[in-house]
Structures are given as structure tokens and as C-alpha cells.
Symmetry: C2
């Protein structure tokens, strides 16, 4: 009998984005934890791995994961997770979690009738198909391990449940991802190992929100986001990452649920 704590393995996509980076930093620390940083560029990920205060956790890198190539990206993630589990040998795996933070803004200068045909197809591949493929391959793999808790965290958005002008493809793909997570939850109602969570992190301090403020065609939204920015009321990635990680560690969320950061803390006035 081993007295060691069971190991925990997290794969974080979009690891080099502001939120992904904050999630990696929040997770890092414990000796029994392996964190796989997933992204496109090897050097960016290695720099990130070097900057994170890893504590006793072990960081791994999967580069070349291009959301425009969903099958190849998913295979690369699963192959790395297999390596990690092989390296820890027969240790108990307490938690095996995919956090999907990769994603792009759709063109906020446009109404839905201004999107180009190729733009719609390419955006959908990167922001819906890549997630559905990765979630499928991750779950297929994870259920075949001895992991005691298997989680898929879909980094979602208020837009998944509330529409706003100029967010057509972003909102539609997030609504689709949320609904897929609800179906997966029902499909594992009798498999207590598996849970899914759609987490809306809020409007974040950082480059993505700067793009929103610069590009959004709808003047009312531009004004709202400008005000939140000026008044320092945008959400800090570290804060929302902490709230999300606390949910996952506690493992008490309802599987399939959409949880917004402002369900957990008061929204800005």
C-alpha cells in the first residue's frame, strides 16, 4: 500500500493566452500534480513553462497543437497524457482534467450577414470542431485509464447563454460547446468518474478585451466595456482562474452546468 497522494494531471489548451497562463499558474504548486501546457508555438510554451512558479509540480509542453487541425492537435495531447501516465507508472490517478481555454474572437466589426463563407467555416473549425474532437479523444482515452475523476472544462462565455450584437460566430460556437457538455454529462450520469463544466470567466483584463473595445461595432457594448476598463472593473485572469480551479478541486459542481464567474462573486456595479 502506498501512502503517496494520488497524482493529478491537467491539460490546459490555449496555455499561452492570458487566461490559460493564469490557469497554469493557479494549478502549479503541489508535488503530485502534472500540468500539460498545450499550444502552437514551442518556444512560447517553453518560455511560459520557465516563467511559471511551478513549485513541486511537473510541467509538460505539447506544441504544434493547431486548432485548425483538430485531429492532429487532439492526438498530440492524448499522446502526451499517455506519456505522463506511463512515466508515473502504477500510481493512483486521482484527477485527470482537460481545461480547454483555446479559442479566438470572431470578427466583432461584423454583423452575421457580413461574415464571409470561408470565414464561417474556418472559425467554426477552430472554435467548435477542435473542441468537440479534443473532448471526444480526451474522454475516450481518460475512461480507459484508472483515473478516479475525469473532467472536461469548457472555457465558455456569457455569450453562450446571452446573445449580443456582433458576436454571432463566437456566441453560436460557445452555445454549441455548452450544449455538447450538457449531453456528455447526461451520457455519463451512471459513470460517477466523469464530469463536465462550462465556465464563463467574465470580461478579462488583457489583450482580448482590448481587441473587443477596439473592434466591437455595437456602440452600446463599446461604451460598457470602455467603462469597465476605465473603472478597473474587468476581471483579473488570476482571480477567475482561482475561482474555476476551486470549483474543479472541490468537484461538487453539477456536471454539465454553465457557471459564470459572476455566479461566484458579485458582478461590477
Amino acid at each position: 500500500m502506498s501512502y503517496a497522494k494520488p497524482i493529478q494531471v491537467f491539460a490546459v489548451t490555449g496555455a499561452s493566452g492570458a487566461l490559460g497562463r493564469a490557469i497554469v499558474q493557479t494549478l502549479a504548486g503541489p508535488a503530485n500534480r502534472h500540468i500539460v501546457l498545450v499550444g502552437r508555438d514551442q518556444r512560447t510554451l517553453e518560455e511560459l513553462a520557465g516563467e511559471v512558479a511551478a513549485g513541486d509540480s511537473v510541467l509538460h509542453v505539447v506544441s504544434g497543437a493547431d486548432a485548425a487541425q483538430p485531429g492532429a492537435a487532439a492526438e498530440a495531447v492524448v499522446a502526451k497524457l499517455l506519456d505522463v501516465l506511463a512515466a508515473v507508472g502504477g500510481e493512483r490517478v486521482g484527477q485527470l482534467v482537460l481545461v480547454h481555454s483555446a479559442g479566438t474572437l470572431s470578427d466583432l466589426r461584423k454583423r452575421a450577414d457580413q461574415y464571409g463563407n470561408d470565414e464561417i467555416a474556418a472559425y467554426t473549425t477552430v472554435n467548435f470542431v477542435s473542441f468537440a474532437v479534443l473532448a471526444a479523444r480526451f474522454l475516450e482515452f481518460a475512461k480507459d485509464t484508472g483515473a478516479e475523476r475525469i473532467g472536461v472544462v469548457n472555457i465558455s462565455s456569457l455569450l453562450a447563454i446571452q446573445p449580443f450584437a456582433n458576436w454571432g460566430l463566437y456566441a453560436a460556437t460557445r452555445a454549441g460547446r455548452d450544449q455538447l457538455m450538457r449531453v456528455v454529462a447526461l451520457e455519463h450520469a451512471n459513470d460517477p468518474r466523469v464530469k463536465t463544466l462550462s465556465y464563463a470567466p467574465g470580461p478579462l483584463v488583457g489583450d482580448m478585451q482590448a481587441s473587443v473595445r477596439a473592434e466591437i461595432a455595437d456602440p452600446a457594448q463599446r461604451e460598457l466595456y470602455d467603462r469597465l476598463h476605465r473603472e478597473g472593473k474587468l476581471v483579473r485572469p488570476a482571480d477567475t482562474a482561482r475561482l474555476m480551479c476551486d470549483l474543479v478541486h472541490a468537484w461538487e459542481f453539477e456536471s454539465g452546468a454553465h457557471v459564470d464567474v459572476f455566479d461566484l462573486v458579485p458582478p461590477p456595479a
Copy 2:
């Protein structure tokens, strides 16, 4: 000044399916109405056009519209609508409506983690991208005509708002389509010509429901649908097509709304 009624133009995709056919038949009759039947197979569509009791309406056919080729399919529909409007010359266009009834079931034998990568990509193209592209090209075109009422009717499903096991890709793509329609509605809040509607027609008598009963892996759903089928409680395409067409003719629905057949008539006991 003309005393003629303004003309009405409807394009119905998936016209050769059970629901599409019922919609075409329900719309047909008035002399001022043009109905464009959209589908893949020329012969099937011509046979359908021959079978419909067209009354004084004019039927048109667009074949070769393959949802796996969204751009080409959308171009073919818009080109035909341009022809129709050119042929009626300067007459007032009272209503110009796209009814998107095309779509396929996802593989109901599978959980989401059993889908193949290519299956996810191909299904998403046919059931989400094709709709988003057609809606975009239709609206872009329609807003440039003198049409007084411009509608996009997304044939949706209960699955868009309520998840069930084994419906992952179907549910996710319908949730995405509904959300896109809500965004389009907001984007035209100041353009009273344009409305969108997501209409869930109910579980229909016909081949698609027969496939559901034959294939669905979830025993509870199989039992439910078997019972509805045995007890004659599935919805008849003609009935739900009539309810949807009445909504569109009245033009009083809230733009962007998801309306279920059982919001309009009592559900089966």
C-alpha cells in the same frame, strides 16, 4: 399605382424531406406567391414540384444544393431568388423568407466520445456551417431588395434547448444555430424588415423518427419514442408546418425567439 397584392417569395431548403415537403405544400396556393424548392437531387425536386397542389403559386427548383458545399449551395439559392425577383419586375415584394429545413441526424448510436474526428467535422459543416453561410448570404441579398418583410426561419429542435444522451452533435449544432438567430435578431433591432425565428417542429411522423427509434442508444428515449409512435402521438408534418407558416404569415413572433410546436398546441399526454 398597382392594386395587385405584393408578391411573397419563400425559399425552402430540405424541400424533399418530410417536413420540407409539408412546408412547401402548406405555403402553396395564393397567386402572388413564389416558392423555391431547394435540395440536392433535380429529379426528386421536380417530382415533388409535380406532386404539390400548387394552386396559383409558382414553384421553382434549385437542385445541386449540397450542404457539404455551403458556399456553392448558398450562391445557387441566392441566384435563383435574384431570377425570381427579376422576373416579377417592379412589383412590391411583401415577404422574402428563407425556411431552412435541411439537416441530418447525428449518429444516435454513439456517445459524444464515440464520434470520429472526420465525423465531427463533416457533420458540423452540413448542420451548422451550411446554415450560417446560407443565412448570411440570404440576408445580405434580401436587405438589398425592396422586400418589406425579410425572414429567416431556422428549423430547430427541442434539443437546441434541452440536452438528451446520444444527441451530442445534433443538439450542439442546433443550439449554435438558435444562438446565431438571436444575435441576428439583435443586430436588426433597428431594421424592422428583418426577423428570425427558430422553430422546433416536434417529433414527427416519418422516416427520421423511424431512424431515431431504430438507432437511439438510450433505452429511456427509445421507449418514449416507441410509445409516442404506437399511440399515434407523433406530430404530423402537415400540422406543424401549418403552425409554423401561420406564425410567419402573422409576423408577430418575437424576432430571435425559439418557438416549439408544443408552445402552440398541447403536448401529447
